[in-house]
Symmetry: C2
């Protein structure tokens, strides 16, 4: 009642699944997404419209979207790497499209084989497609600056470059920009500095979400720093799926269960029932018996008297 | 260089070793402490003066202290549970004595078989002993309130109780109080609220250190919150020794390597050479081949271009 609402954007079905070799059956994906929505998760990145030969794990994204759209109170989000992906996303009827733009041009070329200029042209093309749709059918369009806090290929990325790209994304027609710590390089001071700088550049309400990784153990500390400078949406992955936090180069998303626990224990409102969320791990574990699910809360349990707090 | 100095108090040789079954040989303890001091760690809790039948792992504390005192620029700290321990600590010539006072009386009775009143009487007795020493031989005396953020036996601990105990510790003659999240129950909001309340009660300079655990994954986020309310000393354990962070009930100290990385990446000064610190893990691992050492930084490595930041 009057508690600050923090939005958790669950990215496990996309970022988690794309980083493991095993392919989760469609049926399990549906059950997992349903369980998370029932636990109160209000935004799920359910997949990515990329060629199946590149990410066979996500080849059924259209079917996953179709299912997710039947659930109530759920923002169905997808990642797209290009115009073609956006077309498919629009066809599928998603609520939100995120396109990554790597701050490191080296990483951009390695990841999507495009320069910044080429990516921005692609984004303009997507904007034209979205603008051609009736307003009520138009998905929200976010440009997410990846490697925003440093790159494993280039090292530190100049903050001036991030501000330029944020401006360019808005000019190209994005509704909002996001910042992504793809490499797990961010620290709390950097988070605050960069978030404030980008907010000052594109507008306070045009940067509301961060995608943080826990590769170097700073995921929750960075999330805390982000909250303190007005970030209200945080990406995370159930069980930290897809990234062994103890392995270099791994995805290492923040564990949703731990993030929800931290936020709720701080008196913030995620709208998520932690016990139901924890129960949904079983679906993932059964469907992916070879994968390790992570998380401190799943192991240590909730504090005695937690409900009383 | 004008950077804020944050003191790391390494508690691995005490809190780490007391929570494992294996006994580290004295020679390895000495080598480990030397390596950490050489890496720039300026305070180490090297042991605890408790009966050997209770903690055989720390039975050689007097010898460890004797060695640690030969190292330069090192504050040699020990934990003592009672007057007898303090006597031994004084005899050994330590620089700092910490005595725990459990906020939860249930926990106090279980842990040291004493009520609050009995513990405070013991502390007064220790104060008289310390006051009888010439000033230059008098170790610093800290009263550390354990289970300050909640108790696995009692659940939430009223903050009023913490303030009462903090005042009582100062009245009983402690130079300073500390707060310990023994159970890993703390959250960042609680950290800020309680630290501020205690500082307001006993004086800003009488609470400078926290002992945090990472049992629920919030260790570094809690450390960050602590820094923001003026805490300048943080306890941690090399490799998170003595606590499997993925096992309930475990000690789960913050991993020193990850804490130092976070602080240094934020532009704070710990005085610690991270590469030398990481190298010292080998000593622990060789001496305790059956123990798992934890840490994200040891696995993921430092970011590319980290030295440039």
């Amino acid at each position: 009642m009057g508690k600050t609402l923090i939005e958790i954007s669950e990215v496990g079905p996309r970022d988690g699944l794309q980083n493991i070799a095993a392919i989760m059956p469609l049926k399990a994906k549906k059950a997992w997404i349903t369980a998370m929505a029932n636990a109160g998760v209000r935004e799920i990145e359910v997949g990515s419209f990329v060629p199946a030969r590149i990410l066979p794990q996500l080849a059924d994204t259209a079917d996953v979207v179709a299912h997710a759209l039947t659930l109530t109170n759920l923002t169905v989000a997808v990642l797209v790497p290009n115009y073609k992906g956006a077309e498919n996303a629009v066809r599928a009827g998603v609520h939100k499209i995120t396109i990554p733009l790597s701050a490191s041009e080296t990483h951009s070329l390695a990841n999507v084989k495009r320069t910044h200029t080429q990516m921005l042209e692609e984004i303009q093309k997507i904007t034209r497609l979205l603008k051609s749709l009736p307003k009520e059918q138009r998905p929200k369009f976010e440009g997410s600056i990846s490697t925003a806090f440093g790159c494993t290929l280039e090292g530190p990325v100049p903050e001036k470059k991030i501000l330029e790209l944020a401006t360019a994304l808005m000019t190209a027609g994005c509704d909002e920009v996001g910042l992504s710590d793809t490499t797990g390089y961010a620290n709390p001071v950097q988070i605050k500095r960069l978030v404030c700088a980008v907010k000052n550049t594109v507008g306070d309400d045009k940067l509301t979400g961060l995608h943080l990784h826990n590769t170097r153990g700073l995921g929750l500390a960075n999330a805390l720093a982000a909250l303190e400078v007005g970030i209200t949406t945080l990406d995370s992955s159930l069980g930290g799926l897809g990234g062994c936090p103890f392995a270099p180069g791994a995805s290492g998303n923040i564990v949703t269960e731990d993030l929800v626990y931290m936020l709720e224990s701080m008196g913030l409102d995620t709208g998520i029932d932690l016990n139901k969320l924890l129960a949904s791990r079983q679906i993932v574990q059964s469907a992916l018996p070879g994968e390790t699910l992570f998380g401190f809360i799943p192991e240590a349990g909730l504090p005695l008297g937690y409900e009383m707090v």
